[in-house]
Subunit: 148 residues, 4 copies
């Protein structure tokens, strides 16, 4: 963990808090259809933690994943500048964000932002956004400046 | 407004608060692509107000509308039992929730829940969910109980 | 059926074909997660029938419903001007299009277009788009002309 | 191009056909909101080419990208086993599939499937799915076998 923190520029307290809060967020998932709980927490450069969990719908495509719930809450609460994204699930190896959520992260984060994936038994993996979504599609393709 | 409040079982204070908070929420929209600001606020039977606004994405389908941002936040914060949904936009007549958002409301609200639509010049319309999404698709079609 | 055809300006052959093709389309559904098969067929004023079925995804929000598969295929094949939309499921009473799909129909069809919903035991219901999605959100809200 | 074909196990004719058909598919895009045309074509191991283009909606999240239109059409037409995915846009460097579409490709293709991205001036890039969506989320996370 010390090495992970050094590599991704997180303090041990931040890493611990990401773990605790992502797991806590998971408990709030509404997932009667998949029974697959996902928790997410965003850490801003200003030090705020914003949680989210998956909110499913009987019409499956109307589902909002944990990451997008968290970004929806964060962005509309005025937060910008994200230092880390953490997700927690009950499986091992840990689940990664789906492609749709990687695209959401892409809209608001630097390519180097770390995405910490906690599994159900105390383990974790970390990958940067640019590793999870290489050669990404973004605002620039539409002629807009980056929003991150 | 008095008649509207009586019809939909809202107090004048609640109606006023829905208006104020939906308009305030609108200011937090992230909509560089459509430039179409939408604010939303949910009122629970317990008296809580939960805001949301649209959060767009360079990949348009990854956008989350204001209503779904608000429900994502509300549901994962533990809120259940919604007394009213309000949306605010800058146009007149007022914009209504898109079909995708009506489906989201359907998952968590009674058919009789009022949806208040505020326009950009002080006017409003109100329709119940069962009027906005008649003969709706829901959890029952999949063999699940209603979640509202 | 004769009365239905007269009311919605369909010939008995067209109605029969909508039934047959919607049920046939249902067999092509890819739905390992919901096990809820939906078939759809669109009839154009020019007499073409374009089928679709639901295509799910392990990330539930990436799912495309039957109606949107059919419209995607139709629109990108150059079809415009829809006379009827039909959907078929295995349940009774028949399932209706979800709100997201009603929004898709809204983009490409007149408000009066009939949506025929076939159930799993030979029955059906019909409602016009304007009945399924009253006071709808559409291109006009964004300042665009209707595309229907 | 010869080296590309050798690397990705495509014949020069297949590569040429992917280019021609992806560009042709692009012309069928319905994109009044973004004005960003995307064409897509899928090549199956059986030798079929299935086209798609983006189909937008006034409610942006109801949009279906070109890749998902193509997969919707292909899967519901009974096609399985994809040898290559090609997309074409009008910009240079070429646009890549958004994260949501990478997730769709993930559902139906082997990790090694090549995704050919044609730009607007005769150039192209190729990346395998496993490069575009590393450590991907898929059916296995939900306890389902891979569908590819
Ligand atoms: Zn996701
Ligand atoms: Zn909406
Ligand atoms: Zn649908
Ligand atoms: Zn896409």
């Amino acid at each position: 963990i010390a090495a992970t923190c050094a590599l991704y520029n997180l303090t041990p307290t931040e890493f611990s808090e990401l773990h605790t809060q992502a797991v806590a967020a998971k408990a709030a998932a509404y997932c009667p259809y998949s029974h697959f709980r996902v928790g997410c927490v965003l850490l801003t450069h200003a030090g705020a933690y914003i949680p989210g969990a998956n909110v499913e719908n009987a019409s499956y495509p109307v589902t909002t994943c944990a990451e997008r719930v968290a970004f929806g809450r964060a962005i509309t609460s005025g937060h910008r500048g994200f230092k880390a994204v953490a997700v927690a699930t009950d499986i091992s190896p840990p689940a990664s964000p789906c492609g749709m959520c990687r695209q959401c992260i892409r809209e608001f984060c630097e390519p180097s932002v770390p995405v910490v994936m906690f599994d159900g038994s105390g383990g974790y993996s970390v990958m940067r956004l640019e590793e999870l979504l290489p050669m990404s599609f973004g605002p620039e393709a539409l002629g807009f400046p980056s929003q991150a």
